[in-house]
């Protein structure tokens, strides 16, 4: 780009001219003009907001070092064999072949998708309903808001131990409650069919609070005049909900939907700490398999290969998320 500062010193700085190599690159003066203008604009922007960009710099550096660099490295390692001591060796697609031929490959994707589906079917509506209920309350709003948010503040490990006790078939809370109402006890975490939904309940319980706050804020942004108008038109509570409230928070609902899919597809803490992927691999998730490759088998190449696959799947949802946020911003 024809930035004046790159001119040789014998040329007057006040007279930015197109250098021969620039001219060759740009074919004509006409074509280089917008480039030069862009350069000037950039420089002016930099000068005007220098302090701003300086403030940005540490964050950029940290993001580059701790987020972007590891992502790129993940791609690179997925084509390498690494023992962490000797220089890595390139192995082509071998890691991908190994991951694809692993009998667990199909199982972990099925489990992860099932977990995401359970979370959508049963978990997605929970924070919306909580937010709607709290929003309608006249008394005790603050109390319930805090009560539903409390699980978010618990450390994940505390949550895990709490739920392991709740689900304990010998002395747990859930079976004790069921026996009070004469229902048969269950082996919640010990049965392949119920283990994954049981983990989904834990995940929903511990995350619903923060999503609920987002919905609550969105609900408070719905103009009261809309409700008044609806009431004047004789709308009942369900009609108000259906025709006023839900359309107003729909953009947020869509966003949370995409975010939830991205989040639940990366499920790790619950299967890792509560069931270790059992019983019989029923709760083995994609992320848990990545962890096992890397830290049980010291096979960082396969771990990265599976990581790249998950990344690509999630990238689709991330793109969707970005398009939605853009639309939301334009809609505002």
């Amino acid at each position: 780009m024809g930035l004046p500062s790159s001119s040789p010193s014998h040329l007057p700085r006040q007279e930015p001219t197109v250098l021969p190599e620039d001219a060759a690159a740009h074919k004509s003066v006409r074509a280089s003009l917008p480039g030069r203008l862009l350069g000037q604009t950039l420089r002016r922007m930099l000068q005007r907001n220098l302090s701003g960009y300086l403030f940005l710099l540490p964050a950029l550096l940290i993001f580059a070092l701790f987020v972007w660099y590891p992502i790129v490295l993940g791609f690179v390692i997925s084509f390498q064999s690494i023992d962490m001591i000797n220089p890595p060796a390139w192995v082509g697609w071998a890691n991908y072949q190994h991951v694809l031929s692993d009998p667990l490959f199909g199982i972990v994707w099925r489990n992860t998708l099932a977990f995401t589906a359970y979370a959508l079917l049963f978990g997605y509506a929970v924070p919306i309903i909580l937010a709607l209920l709290i929003n309608e309350m006249r008394h005790g709003k603050g109390f319930f808001r805090l009560a539903f948010y409390l699980p978010v503040m618990l450390s994940p490990i505390v949550t895990v131990f709490l739920w392991r006790w709740i689900y304990n078939p010998d002395s747990g809370l859930l079976n004790a409650l069921l026996s009070l109402v004469h229902l048969p006890p269950g082996l919640w975490l010990e049965t392949p069919g119920t283990a994954l939904p049981a983990l989904m309940v834990v995940a929903t319980w511990s995350a619903a609070g923060s999503t609920m706050l987002i919905y609550l804020a969105a609900l408070q942004g719905v103009s009261a005049s809309l409700y008044e108008a609806a009431e004047l038109d004789g709308a009942k509570i369900w009609q108000r909900l259906w025709h006023v409230t839900l359309p107003a928070i729909r953009p947020i609902m869509l966003l949370m939907l995409v975010l939830q899919i991205i989040g639940t597809m990366q499920v790790f803490t619950e299967p890792f700490t509560i069931t270790s992927g059992g019983p019989q691999n029923a709760t083995m998730s994609v992320l848990l398999l990545i962890y096992n490759y890397a830290f049980q088998n010291a096979d960082f190449g396969s771990a990265s290969a599976l990581g790249v696959m998950l990344f690509l799947v999630l990238a689709v949802f991330a793109l969707l998320y970005m398009r939605l946020t853009n639309r939301l911003m334009q809609g505002d």
């Binding site: 964050a59 962490m84 001591i85 190994h98 392949p192 049980q296």
Partner: protein, 460 residues
């Protein structure tokens, strides 16, 4: 999580600054950690410091005192060599990452199962010269020495420090309450099954077994040895655990869980869980190694007089799984640091005078001395070690008589792809412990087929 309603549209500059400040702090603390983890290097060339991971947790003040005393004694005996202890036990899941990051200690206490993998990954230092010049190396039982040796090159990569055999820990009070003789733990599968049934009550399960964290596969291996079965062919090329011996192990556990109902309904345990169940009187019998006596005492303040250790009940195999700990050295450390570490490890564990004062110290500071361990050495040296241990023992040795006198053969864990084999067997153990209609033969066939692929791939 961001809780602003319009979170998508305005990730404000203030948020951004707060975020980056938080990240910056994180980065700083990472730096600080990295600085802590740096190894070796001291200014004077005559003075070298080696780091070792066996510093006991600060909560166990007696053990920390004993450790510091031994370091002091070592530094007097070996001027110029210093030892710095870290409380950072070996963890297979983080070892490679920490090694690569330069944060692994110069000396780590690892397990018998690890050296072969570490050797193949070049993640452990060659100490052949040091070992060969150490007078006691040749006293090692050859099968123990082979654990630290690369069979193809003959090079040596570690110092085995103790060995164990798995056995049955049992609650003596519960035995007495159920009308069983506390001095006669079950010796056969049939007795074991009958005892578990008798010990079971509404609040106590007779037996609890591990099935996650690769410990299901580990204990399955132990069980199949008691039945006389094999896990792999001798050359490690064939998976052999889907035999009728393997099936009989699973059938026993399944019958105990579902027919007798003498096992916990809750499953998916690791050893830490089952030890807790034993210590808190929820379970009467579990499978453990003798080194867990220390945890039982220090973590749960258990009265060791109430617990006994019996040999593994047998079913025609008259064998039991053995394992142990081995000191390994960081391949990235300087030769001087490795030598200092090697000197400390051998001095502190195998110098008879030091051993004696360590045992006296341990006993005086409330540490468990005399937990029955296996024989590491042959000949004269081993007899001297035995005499010392018995002299300072502070555990009820009579509670372990049958375990100590057991004639069962000690069989090491299979060497080829051990952890992956265990990982393939965890789901099998989980199946028979959670599913009343599980088919043991089918489960084992599937696992064997899956593990055979791993063996084939590693061979090619």
């Amino acid at each position: 999580m961001n809780t602003k309603p319009n979170f998508g549209s305005s990730f404000s500059r203030r948020d951004f600054l707060q975020y980056s400040a938080a990240l910056g702090m994180g980065a700083l603390s990472l730096d600080a950690l990295a600085a802590c983890g740096s190894t070796t290097a001291s200014p004077a060339s005559t003075n070298v410091t080696a780091t070792i991971d066996t510093l006991p947790p600060a909560s166990n003040t007696g053990a920390v005192y004993v450790f510091n005393q031994s370091v002091k004694a070592f530094e007097q005996a070996y001027p110029g060599e210093k030892i710095e202890g870290k409380n950072d036990p070996y963890d297979p899941s983080t070892y490679f990452a920490r090694l690569a990051a330069g944060q692994s200690e110069d000396v780590k206490e690892s397990y018998f199962t690890e050296p072969q993998l570490l050797i193949s990954k070049h993640a452990v230092a060659d100490i052949t010269k040091l070992a060969k010049s150490w007078s006691i190396w040749n006293s090692y039982n050859p099968s123990i020495a082979s654990i630290a040796t690369d069979a193809s090159t003959g090079k040596i990569y570690g110092v085995p420090v103790n060995a164990y055999a798995l056995g049955i820990y049992y609650n003596r009070k519960m035995f007495a309450a159920a009308g069983l003789d506390p001095d006669k733990p079950p010796l056969t599968w049939e007795d074991f099954r009958a005892y578990a049934k008798r010990l079971t009550s509404p609040s106590v399960a007779g037996f609890a077994e591990t099935s996650t964290g690769n410990q299901g596969g580990w204990h399955f291996t132990n069980w199949i040895y008691t039945a006389g079965g094999d896990m792999q062919s001798a050359d490690g090329t064939k998976a052999m655990f889907n035999s009728d011996k393997g099936t009989s192990v699973l059938q026993l556990l399944k019958d105990m869980r579902f027919t007798d109902q003498s096992m916990t309904k809750q499953q998916l345990f690791t050893q830490a869980d089952t030890l807790q169940l034993l210590a808190t009187n929820k379970v009467a019998m579990v499978i453990m190694a003798p080194d867990q006596l220390n945890t039982l005492k220090s973590q749960y303040q258990a009265n060791l007089a109430d617990f006994g250790i019996g040999p593994m009940p047998q079913h025609g195999g008259n064998a039991v799984l053995t394992g142990g700990n081995i000191f390994i050295f960081n391949p990235k450390s300087s030769q001087a640091a490795i030598k200092a570490g090697f000197d400390f490890v051998t001095y502190n564990n195998f110098n008879l005078n030091v051993m004696e004062s360590n045992l006296a110290n341990q006993s005086a500071n409330g540490q468990v001395v005399g937990a029955p361990t296996n024989v590491l050495f042959t000949g004269d040296f081993q007899q001297k070690v035995n005499a010392l241990t018995t002299k300072y023992a502070n555990v009820p040795l009579s509670n372990y008589t049958l375990f100590t006198n057991s004639t069962a053969a000690l069989r090491p864990e299979p060497r080829k792809q051990t952890q992956k084999m265990y990982a393939a067997l965890d789901p099998v153990m989980q199946a028979v412990l959670t599913n009343p209609s599980a088919d043991p033969q089918k489960l084992l066939d599937q696992a064997a087929q899956q593990f055979q692929q791993i063996l084939d791939q590693s061979a090619s």
